[in-house]
Amino acid sequence: MGYLDQEKTDALNKLKKERGVGNLDSEKNPFDYHAREYGTMPQDGKRAPFQWVSEVAYKNVHRIVARGYDTTELMEEGYGVIEVLFVDYQARIPTIEEEKMLNYIMIMMLEDGLSGPAAISRIVAKSKTFLTQACGASIMAFGHAYGAYSSFGNRVEDYIKKAEFENLTLGEAARLLVQKDGIDEALGVSSLMLKDPAAKRMIARAEKLGVAGVNIQFMKEVVKAAQAVSSEPVDIDMLGATGAVMQDLGFTPEATWAILAITRSFGAGAHYIEEVERGDLSRMGQQLTPREDYDGPSDRSVPPLKDREKVAQSAICKTPEEWKQRFEKMKEVRGSGFSIIEEVADPSKKSGMKKVGKL
């Protein structure tokens, strides 16, 4: 489309200026609102045209290629999903031992009973959706507590690097970590697997296959450090075991996060199917919330609209003291958001792709 020609632009802007449009005449505005162009920006002929740039894969009419390997040829040569994960995320074919280890982990991650991903999948299923919608939703359950592979892994990486740069033993670095952050939800050490040997069996399998590395070594030190300060028994849990082994297999924390969340999504798909098979659909307004579960303000009458000014309470705070007072008061209003802090950071760590696209 491009921009509207100047004559028409001027005429339309003049008409609008004469009519006046709210505050758009204000001198405080950063530019003249009555001199703006109409239409879309012309195409940029100076820079290279947009293309989907990828280091991961390409395809043409006759082939699909991941990191240089034709995917059909990979399958014909007897490779499968496990190997393609190494290809996509690490641009390499794994050793047989590495393939066995990832296979082991993915079996373990396939099912976790009625935990978050399965529960979400089932709730979505009850709305009569596509299965894929439920599978997608199940992946949303993976955050920085449940399936906290990003938080866990990046912190483990940081402390291993710290040990290396500051000439600390892994034990010393592990003690520093536990001292600083305590036994939190991303440590990989908890009371969750005291009776279930699965996490320890996974570590033993990694050692037996010869794929154990510095991440497992470090986690063993973290376990010792956590046990030394914990008032209750703790040991390595599934987050700690799967996270450490995945990183010893060469996967980044983010790759681990994605691969394991997706693996769980297959199980969530089965939960969707079972929910549809067994359950009734859910309609809007159907679910009741029992009065006894409610602990908000007591029932009160809605004031007549004409009395609004009498009962309304303004939130405007004229001084920092007023602001602070209100902020503290609002913390008592559950669901208002005043008692939580969510730091929304850019999780990508690094941006910029200036090496591609030059004309």
Partner: protein, 298 residues
Amino acid sequence: MDREPTLRRKTALSYKTEEKTVMRGYNLSDMAEEGYSFYDAMFVLFQSRIPTEKEEKMLKYEMGVFLEHSMSPSAVGAIGVSAGRPNLPVCVAAAISTFGGVHGPGAAHGYMLNKYLERGQKEGKTVDEMAKTLVDEYMDSGTPVMGMGQPQHIDSDPRAEPIHLRQEELGLEGVYLEFQRALEKYFHARRKADGRSYVGVNVVGSGNTALMEIGFSPNAGWCIGSVVRGFSCAAHALYNMKKGRAWGASRNEPMVQMIDLSMIKYVGPKDRIVPKQEERQEYAKKQKEEGEYKQWVI
């Protein structure tokens, strides 16, 4: 620590205690220790059974070949979502959610085959006859035949025939492959007779046939296909998050970015004056009467 389930349900899939996680009766840790593959576990999950070695090999092939497809709606969805830099799982969720009625419609293909197989049984028709009936009915009504055609791989999907061949090589030919092969035969013949161009089988047509043959339901097959694609979409999103520009609109990049302003082409109503509130009622009534707006309603 509260270990109560988030949701209480009767389930035949799994249970989890402090001691173990059990899926369809098998302790998952024991399965992994015994050396079963992830593909075996998929049979246990969806079919409650250990597969034969050949079935396991077929699933391995199908899932592996479907995993990566470079730029398809799913990968583009993941990349688009990643531009705002949410947490990575959100990009993957979006990617998997792109699988619908057109992109990788595995369930639709499966239901189509099941419907005609069942009808054939009731009507006493052979598989071959039902395949012809399906093709004729679909093409007569202008309904796309599921599993045929791919907008990028116009000479037939490079993954499709090799899947059929592997299924045959493994000796896993059953009623589904017979049906699908017959469907393709009649489909090609019909298009040729109608003077239309060649349209090959796609990866859903062949891959889903294999999945159904080795015992997966249409929805289980759909789950397997769409979720396995999530693995590569996550890689594409991650690449863009780690090495690409956030937002996708920077003017400092040497290549025009995905949502650079110049990428927008607008074909809607022309720029017009916003009516003042005092003009609004009359303006709105006139607009409704004239009805010009109807061409823009979506």
